[in-house]
Amino acid sequence: MMPLRNSGDLRYSEITPKAFYLNRRKFLVGIPAAFAVAKSARAGVKLPSLARSPFSTGEKQTPYDSVATYNNFYEFGTQKEQPAKLAKDFKTSPWTVSVEGEVAKPRKVGMDEILKLAPLEERIYRHRCVEGWSIVVPWIGYSLNTLLKLAEPTSKARFVAFESFYDPRQMPEGRNAGIPLPYVEGLRLDEAMHPLAMLSVGMYGETLPPQDGAPVRITLPWKYGFKSIKSIVKIRLVASQPPTTWNIANAREYGFYSNVNPTVDHPRWSQATERRLGEFLRHPTLMFNGYGDQVASLYAGMDLKKNY
């Protein structure tokens, strides 16, 4: 087997399937360690030579196991611990993302190419869920605008619509999600072009585990977590505001923008504070999740109470 760690041009298809990886570990270290492996389920492949990012926070990172076992990914169940179990065999290779719509160069991009479009950076972002919990995650990827520019959006493009992969056979729990699937999300084009908006292919130095949106997802640190759509297969540039899943499900509670905002409560609960996973006391929630210096200008003059 080739030494994965040092291989600069690792093909996505060469990544060892997780089942083999786990089997090998179990075989090597026996039952007690296998239990520990199953619990931490750390099966990603190391991503080499990561550039550091000035966007990173110096805050304490949330433990990997918390981020990989506590997930909202309704295609794999609505209980937090379900996706880590039910997404185990999620097939993420081969994978292509279609960039289409109002673009001069529509194209289908394979994972091999996505991994090479730009130098992979590690960005340690705060991530705040609309439910009132938060995590600090070292994501791996680069700015989403790298991919968008490649397709050359036309002058008609004003919004970006994203779509998640959905296969009811691989995701039988999706039928019970209570939200329409496939999951769709959207951004204004200027939001999507903002350098903080990230196309993520990994976390904690490795490829993404399925439950965190493998093989490729969007990460938007100043918005509630549900905007950061997972396992994307389609990026469509469009002229008018696209529908978004949680907004379709409940427009009064989940707006198109969904910027983190401690002064605008969710109709059912307060957004003033959050619990960082692994900590006991709640933190005060920050405007734009603490990214106001970078993104507040995107919303200058807008009534954020109306455009929640």
């Binding site: 196991d65 506590y70 019970n176």
Partner: protein, 224 residues
């Protein structure tokens, strides 16, 4: 002789039920001991205790229909224990929210209790259970009198409806469990409405032998 044996059986059955009702708490303790309360233990404990509260409320309300439909009047002897355990898990649920989740942040707690419909519903459910737990003893049945005691304990209907509402308003999109519990509570309350309407109709015609039966029900409650 037969009576002694049936008393012994009852005692064994009650002890088993007591242990069964404690099993969820034991399971929670075991998971805590193993550090297996998910990445968000406070939320896990809150949901876990809430789940068991509502299950035991549903179980409490099932006793009356079941004993009549299955012709097992002795089931009434277990109702108080199930109801008290519902209150016990409800208290754990409430205290987890108050002392751990909100950590005595009174301004936020007061805001939640006055502004958040799902919290108001949950608190209503819990508040209505408290006087029932306090007056669950035979002494209180005597003190209040069977009729008044029964009237007071109809607050459990408010508890059940408020608890289901609390749960339904809490979930984001997957309403399967709140709908399941809501359906069960609706069946349980519907049964009572049907029986009540039938009894009323019967009472209207001949002065029924029904009263005798009601009186004996009261006595059974008093004894249980």
């Amino acid at each position: 002789m037969a009576k002694t044996r049936s008393n012994a059986l009852l005692r064994v059955a009650k002890a088993l039920l007591f242990l069964a009702c404690l099993a969820p708490l034991a399971r929670l303790g075991w998971r805590a001991w193993n550090g297996n309360l998910t990445a968000n233990p406070i939320e896990y404990i809150t949901h876990f205790t809430g789940d068991w509260t509502i299950r035991l409320i549903v179980a409490t309300l099932a006793v009356t229909p079941l004993r009549k439909l299955l012709h097992m009047p002795a089931l009434i002897r277990y109702r108080r224990m199930i109801g008290l355990f519902a209150f016990f898990y409800g208290a754990l649920h409430f205290l987890t929210w108050l002392c751990v989740d909100k950590f005595f942040q009174w301004p936020e707690i007061v805001k939640d209790l006055s502004k958040r419909p799902f919290i108001i519903a949950g608190f209503t459910a819990f508040a209505c259970m408290a006087p029932l737990a306090a007056t669950s003893t035979a002494g209180w049945i005597r003190r209040l009198g069977g009729k008044r005691w029964q009237l007071l304990h109809r607050l459990v209907y408010v508890t059940a409806i408020a608890a289901v509402t609390h749960y339904y308003w809490l979930v984001k999109s997957d309403v399967r469990l709140p709908v399941l519990y809501g359906t069960l509570v609706a069946l349980e309350l519907g049964y009572r409405v049907v029986v009540w309407a039938r009894d009323r109709r019967r009472r209207g015609i001949p002065p029924a032998p029904r009263y005798g039966k009601l009186a004996s029900t009261g006595a059974e409650i008093a004894l249980s």
